[in-house]
Symmetry: C5
Subunit: 82 residues, 5 copies
């Protein structure tokens, strides 16, 4: 799983109906790369989180049919980015 | 999901029949890497979009049998590439 | 999908039987990275092509049991690599 | 499979229930990239291990429904990182 | 599929039982990155080989339940690494 920091909410009004109204978050990896993740846990900007990719991210988003390839599955208790 | 900007339509007359006539778009990530994505939402050059990869991209393209590995699933309302 | 240029045919006499006699091609991405792709469309050295990766590449190669992770699914009509 | 060194245990109290109480470890690849892996073998900090990614990592974590994309499946007997 | 050179056998006595006794090999890509692959063809150190990744690598390793994400499926007849 990837270690990412939540940056902000992503607003996408025009999306395919299968995505529903699940919150989408912009997350940033240590190397600076930004991705969009589905939030399955309830986190806020600044949180360091664990995000699962690949086929596991669909079920983690709530349904095997959910069109996700990156889902936040946990908040890290303490993370000091050295 | 990846954050990409739509660059242009890709013309590929000679393609496998399973791809049908779905529009294919050239998208560009912030790091400059170009990929080809199936458009499931209806977007135009210049749009910043969310694209889902992996097995989720097939269903997002309309059918689990569609041969996609990258499908545009939403248009980002506002994106300022800093 | 990836944008690649076909470089040459790859000869591999000793391969697992599930691969059959499908032609294998060496393809090159813009960044110089080389991969091996199954040709599902019929292309020649020099062609710029679209190649699908991941689980979609198996069905695109003709069968869900075909052991491919990269399959050429279309030839790009015009591609000027700037 | 990836070759990684186990760095430490990751504490994530707030995680989706599907993750259960399986131990999560921070692993580091030779290039310095850190990921989080599920431990299916029982290893300790400093061990060099083999970690499987993708859909195979779910079954390796104990169940096809486990939300993992990286699971440690073996400890390397001797590894000298040259 | 990836083009890799076989470097050596990897010894991992302590592995999950699902891996069985299949030989594991350390392979090296042109960019120097090392991975571990399951050998489905019978190759020796120095061979240039084709390795399939992702879900296709499981069936190529002999069973859809085998926990592989990289399996060697062919030996390249002639490869001059320019």
């Amino acid at each position: 799983m990837k270690i990412c920091q939540v940056e902000k909410t992503l607003v996408s009004t025009n999306r395919i109906k299968e995505m529903g109204h699940r919150p989408l978050l912009v997350v940033k990896e240590k190397n600076g790369a930004r991705s969009v993740a589905v939030d399955a846990i309830g986190c806020v900007a600044g949180d360091w989180v664990i995000a699962v990719s690949g086929s596991a991210s669909r079920a983690a988003a709530g349904s095997k049919d959910y069109p996700s390839d990156l889902t936040i599955v946990g908040i890290i208790d303490n993370w000091s980015e050295e």
